[in-house]
Structures are given as structure tokens and as C-alpha cells.
Amino acid sequence: MQMLDRKKGIPFQEIQMPKFLAPKTFCLDNGLEIHIMEGGGQDLCCIDLVFEAGSKVQNKILQAGMCNALLLEGTALKQGEEIHESLDFYGAYTQLDINSDRAVVSLYTLNKYFDKVLPIFIDAIKNAIFPENEFKIMLEQKKHSFIINIEKVDFKARNAFFGTLFENHPYGASAKLEDFDQITRADVVDFHAEYYTKAAMKIYIAGMMPANAETILNQQIGDWGLRESNAICEYASLAKSDKIHIAKDGALQSAIRIGRVCFNSHHEDYHQFKFLSVVLGGYFGSRLMSNLREDKGLTYGIGTMCVHQEESGYFSISTEVKGEGTQLALQEIYKELKRLRDDLIPDDELSLVKNYVMGQILKSADGPFAQASLLKNMHIQGVGFEFYDSYQKMLDSLDAVQLQELANKYLKEEDLCEVVVGNTSF
């Protein structure tokens, strides 16, 4: 047998965009569109109801979140216990999620029970009455989580960061302890009437379509009252260069957040800028990870995000570093930002990150639910299911000069807000 040369690398093959599920759409009697992403072959499915009921439309802090969390806790005819008992009996799972733009209610079910489970699920959401007892229990739970979270440096940093970036916008609002005494059951009932009873929503189904699904969906959802979508007012913000340092005695680590308001996926620079943020801190071998973790051992992890929001978007760097290394960490972060502004990204690194990003998309295409969730997100953002058709072309066209320009446009030190919570004695 020929001796194996382990030192010699194997040539890398070009990565192809996976074939995504092809979404189909059909309309219910009330005009509501249902988007179906069929795949996988197993007799099960996931249905997501996406409501324009995120926290940005609430009048009071906690209102939207409490409403979403209590959607399955009882109707005039059925107690929450009964609802959960039947959903559990059929082996169904539910999930409730909320962010500042939207609330999502998801149901995972075996198709053989679809006709049993869907009516229970839809009835619960549509006719939720928010019993006082359940309201109080949920509020206590949330309050407990809150008072535990405010002990964490990372949580404090996050709140201070968004509070500064989105000073005059609901995106910057965060709960305070007294908010838990202000919210009432009536607030939640009002919110439900306004944003769920008559809803602006999108519906997605992934997996295999159950038999008679169209009929069942029409029976259950085809008469749901609909309302207009919320008006979108783009958040106009000046760059913030605040430096906010909050001391926390006894903290072994400091949480750091650095970033700025930018834009969402409709902006011409968004995807290129997002790519740049991956180079900086979006993967294990990124510049920030290589420098702060792998070279200096200052942190367990550091990462960047470039996030789409309906009315805005932001870029952030976040990490928790050893207390005595806080100043060094800040210095190195700014050094890496400067390097992006001053120098072209070498070809090798550029092609590595392109491959990494492609691989990430591939991994997100593992299984019908994962794929559907990728497509769904693009559809919700309003860039369409076909977004990934042209994505590879965009990646291929990226070049170092363009990325350096973006760094100089958006990552100037004087345009970045800095928050440190923990050791601030430097």
C-alpha cells in the first residue's frame, strides 16, 4: 500500500447551494395566505402562526410578552389544564415566541392527529380569556426570571446597550422591576383584542401536509378576522458614541457590548455588511475569536451580530471577558475594527469566509423544518422565498475593496457606542 502523506492537503471542492423546498401558497376563505414548504416525507408537520404582535406595538412594558405567553391558558369553555392535557395526549408540542416585531405561536404534530389537535390549538389562541390565576402565576415566573437576570453582567449590558441605541424607540425599552406591578390582566385582554382577535398574520406549514389539511385549515382559520398590517416607520438615528461603564462589585467578568444602529435587509449594504461582521466575529476562526480567545485567552467567546429589525437594524459585538483583562479586551476590539478599515481582507481569508457562510446555509438546510425556518425568515422580512436563489451570486461578487469601504462607512470608532458592565476601574 502506498504510504499516506498526511501533510499534503486535499483540494477543496466548490460548494453548491442546496436545492431548497419549493414553497406553495394557497388562500383561505378570508383571504389569508398559507405558505407550505413540503418535505421530509415523515408524517408530521409544524405550523407557525406569525402575528404582528411584537413588543413594539404595546402600550405598556410586558403587555405583548404576557399576552403571548398566556395564549394557551384557557378559554371561556376550557381551562388551560384541559387544553394542555389534550395537546399532550396527542403528543403535540407547542412553542410561544416573541420579539420586538412579531409574536409566533407554533404547533408540532403528527399528521394522524392533525384534525384533533388543530381545532384545540386554534380555539385556544383565538378565544383566549387570560384567567386571573394563570396571569398571576405567569407574572410571578417572569418576575423571578427578571430578578435573576438583572444579576448577570451580560443582561445589564444588553439593556444599557439597546436603551442607548434606540433611545426614542420601543426597540430600546426594557423592563424594570416596577413594571411587574403595573401590568394587569385587563392590559393583556386589550392587547389580545387588538392584535390577535383581529390579526395581521402570516401562516407557514413545514413537513408533510396532512390529509384534508386545506379543508381543516379553512374550517378553523378561514373565518379569522383580519386587520391591516402595522405601519412601518423607519427609525432614524444619529450615530451614538456614548461610553457607558457600569461597575459591578465582585463581578469576576466584565460584559462588553459595542455597536451601532444600522439598517435592515432591505438596505443595499445589508448583506455585504453582514458578511463583514462574520469576518470580524461571526465564526470560530474569526478575527475577534482568534485574537481575544485563541491568542490571549481573555474570554470563552466573543461574537458579532448584524440583525434585521422591521424598522431598523443593528450591529453589535458582545463578549464576557476576565475582569482584569477588560481594558486589554477593549483595546484589541478597537484594533481589529481599525484593521478592517485600514487593510484589505486577504484573498485567502475572504474565500474561507465565503465557504464558511455557504456551509452555514447548507447546515441550515438539514431537514425540512430547518429549511422552512430559513425560508420563512426571509419571507417575513419581506425579501421573498427566492432570496437564496441569488445569494451565491452576491457572495461571489464580494470583494475586499468593497468590504473595506463598508468598514470605513459603518465601523468608525466615533460612531460606535460602548457599554461595559463589571470591572470599570481602568
Binding site: P18, L44, E151, L252, Q253, G359, G367
Partner: protein
């Protein structure tokens, strides 16, 4: 049903191949049969520190991550008390890169002093971030040594204390490698749009030249049967009182495992479960409560853990839990309730098969437990559990003298 084929190389490496044509990625999952339970009690945390060092370059390849990233792959690893598991997911066109990378790491690491020094710091920061600088972070550092006096499950994978990580030397690191990282101590699963002949050829090419190593037979001290209830009370700077009870239970491969797991489901799976309805909703003793099994391979722990509602004392809260456990011992679980938890297990199993990475990991851990096909047979084991078996298990484990109770109080 997860189909697979299995073969073994002459050097003892077990290989399992699962074909799934629907996914664009291939999973390369390599499990080493070594975990925190195999550590020297004065060098705890070494298995996990070692996992970090595995990314610091191998004998012929200086930068592991760079090769993965250029392949369009993603990789990660985790260490538990029982195993250390490494995986790469990558486009199938670049699958051979994974064989090259992982076989080179198995052959030998670069063992550079810089890598040890940096990863030592990184792990210490991980220790601080997750166990020390976090409300309730030290909970398992307290509970494990309370429940285990002999068995190495008495420390968590991060280690007993930071000083063990600080003191680890290069010699110890190398010795650990040659003792545990060997083809005859590993299970490789490749899953995706691949065929067995191809995987056989690649395995032979890259792994067969690595020699079998002298892996010591595991001989861990057995935890003596607990004969007296143990209690620990601590005060910390946390906002809410927390109560933990841990009971010794059977090993993962014991036939009672399935009944024990279903007991935890009856108690706390889903919002219709007993603990939530009785202790959170009706009696308002807890704001949150959970019952779960640790999932360890050796004799493990059954936990009941809750955050106390405002104004409730530890004694009240604990007696609420005790009376729910008492019920399981005195009254048979009804047919409908049993059906419910079984249905839930079945559907969770079907959903988990949607993702090829899950399937690969399940195959690897099942093979470690003796038979990869357990992944398919387990549903039948759950299905066959009876209410009487559950009652017997409850009587056996929910005894006061088998309990380890932690009162974690707010200052």
C-alpha cells in the same frame, strides 16, 4: 426507523454508516469513550480541557478550524461525565477533509505549550462565566459531591475547582491522550448522502494505519447504596430560593431506565404534568418546577428542582414535592396518563429523526451502550412499561434515605 450499517477496522475503530439522501450535508461524528468520570480526582476538568486542546493543531495539520471552514463545514464538540464527542457537518463534496482532520488528531496532537496555556485561560473563563459569575452557577458543584461520595460523578465536567485546571501539566495532557484517544476507544458515525463502500474505503485509508492503543479497562469505584438522607443548606447572593432534591437511580442500560424516565415525564413533561398543576398552579408553592433524569451512563440521579414562590418556606415547598412523590408510590398511574406520556415520547422520537445530526449522535451513543440499533428499539421499551413497574421504581428511589436535598437560599 434509522437504517445503518456497521463495520469494524482491524485496529478496533467501530464505524457506523447511515444513509439519508434528503440532506445536503454529511455528518462526521466521532465519539471517544472518555469523560470526566475517567479523571484523576486531583486533576478534574482534564477531559474537558483536553477537548479544547484538540483544536490546537494536530501532528501534521497546524490549523484544524481553517480546514473545516474552507470545506464549508461547521464543527463542535462537547464533553460530558461519560463521553467526549466531536462532530463536523460539511458538504459531501468535501467529506474526505473530515477523515484527514480527525484521523490526524487521533494519530497525535501538536501539543504546543502555547495552546495549553491559552486553552487553560479560556477554560478558566468558561468556569467563571458559567459556574462562578452566574446566579446559581455553583449549584452542581455543591450537589454532585453531596450525592456521590465514591463515584467520579461527584464532580462536573468543568472540574471541581479552578486550581485543578491551573495545575495541569503537558505531561499529564499527553498521558491522557495516549490512554484514551485510540481507534479502539472510539465510534465513528458518518451520516448523509453517502454509501457504505465509499465510507469503508475512506476509513481504511485514513484510520486503519493508526495503531491500536493500550486503553485501560474502566474500573470506577461503585457508589455505595445511600443509607441516610443528606442535606445541605447554603446562602448566596441570589434573588430567589431554590430547592433541589436528587435521588440515586439506575444506570442508562438498566431495564428500569425507561420506567424511571416516564416517571419524570408524568411529573413534569408539558404543562399538563403533575408538578406544574399541583405545586405551581394550585398550591402556588413554586414559580417553576421540574423533574428530570441526568441521563448518565452509570447509576445516575433523578432530580426534582424548583424555584420557590415568594413567601413560601423551604419546609412547605419540600413537603409539597414529597407528597407528589408519595402519590407515585401509593397510587398506580392511570391508563390515560400513561398513554399520554408514551405518546409524547413517541412523537419526540419521530421529530428528532428530522435532522441528520441528531440521528448521527443517537447512533453513536446507542452503539456505546452496546448496540446502535437501540436507537430504533427504545420506543418499544418505552411502550412496554407498565404502571406497576413505574410504581415499583418510585418505591425504590423516592426513599428519604436515598435523597440528597439542597436548600439554596437567597441571602
Amino acid at each position: 426507523m434509522i437504517n445503518f450499517e456497521r463495520f469494524e477496522l482491524d485496529n478496533g475503530l467501530k464505524v457506523i454508516v447511515h444513509q439519508d439522501k434528503s440532506t445536503p450535508i454529511v455528518v462526521f461524528n466521532l465519539l471517544y469513550d472518555v469523560g470526566a468520570r475517567d479523571e484523576d480526582p486531583s486533576r478534574t476538568g482534564l477531559a474537558h480541557l483536553f477537548e479544547h486542546l484538540m483544536f490546537g493543531g494536530s501532528v501534521n495539520i497546524a490549523n484544524y478550524d481553517e480546514v473545516v471552514e474552507k470545506s464549508g463545514g461547521q464543527n463542535n464538540a462537547f464533553t460530558s461525565n461519560d463521553i467526549t464527542n466531536y462532530y463536523i457537518t460539511l458538504p459531501k463534496e468535501n467529506l474526505e477533509q473530515a477523515f484527514r482532520l480527525e484521523s490526524d488528531r487521533m494519530l497525535s496532537l501538536a501539543f504546543t505549550p502555547k495552546s495549553l496555556e491559552v486553552q487553560r485561560q479560556v477554560v478558566i473563563e468558561e468556569f467563571k462565566q458559567n459556574y462562578l459569575n452566574q446566579p446559581y452557577g455553583d449549584l452542581h458543584l455543591l450537589l454532585r459531591p453531596l450525592a456521590y461520595q465514591k463515584h467520579p460523578y461527584q464532580w462536573p465536567t468543568i472540574g471541581k475547582e479552578v486550581s485543578h485546571i491551573e495545575k495541569t501539566t503537558m505531561e499529564e495532557v499527553k498521558a491522557f491522550f495516549y490512554k484514551h484517544y485510540a481507534p479502539n476507544n472510539a465510534i465513528l458515525v458518518v451520516a448523509g448522502d453517502v454509501d457504505v463502500a465509499e465510507i469503508k474505503a475512506l476509513s481504511e485509508k485514513w484510520f486503519a494505519p493508526i495503531e491500536r492503543r493500550d486503553v485501560p479497562v474502566r474500573n470506577l469505584p461503585k457508589e455505595p447504596r445511600q443509607t441516610k438522607a443528606r442535606k445541605l443548606e447554603v446562602e448566596r447572593d441570589v434573588p430567589v430560593d431554590v430547592l433541589y432534591k436528587a435521588f440515586h437511580m439506575c444506570a442508562r442500560t438498566h431495564k428500569d431506565f425507561y420506567a424511571t424516565d416516564l416517571i419524570s415525564d408524568v411529573l413534569s413533561r408539558g404543562n399538563s404534568s403533575r408538578l406544574y398543576n399541583s405545586l405551581v398552579k394550585d398550591q402556588k408553592l413554586f414559580s417553576e418546577i421540574d423533574a428530570f433524569i441526568g441521563g448518565d451512563l452509570d447509576e445516575g440521579l433523578f432530580y426534582v428542582a424548583g424555584k420557590l414562590a415568594t413567601g413560601v418556606s423551604m419546609i412547605q415547598a419540600e413537603s409539597g414535592i414529597d407528597s407528589e412523590l408519595e402519590k407515585l408510590k401509593s397510587v398506580l398511574v392511570e391508563e390515560n396518563e400513561l398513554r399520554k406520556v408514551k405518546n409524547k415520547v413517541l412523537s419526540a422520537h419521530l421529530f428528532s429523526e428530522l435532522n441528520v445530526l441528531n440521528k448521527a449522535m443517537s447512533l453513536a451513543t446507542s452503539e456505546l451502550m452496546g448496540d446502535a440499533n437501540l436507537v430504533n428499539n427504545e420506543i418499544a421499551f418505552y411502550e412496554s412499561v407498565t404502571a406497576v413497574e413505574m410504581q415499583n421504581v418510585a418505591i425504590d428511589i423516592f426513599r428519604d434515605e436515598n435523597s440528597n436535598t439542597l436548600y439554596y437560599k437567597a441571602k
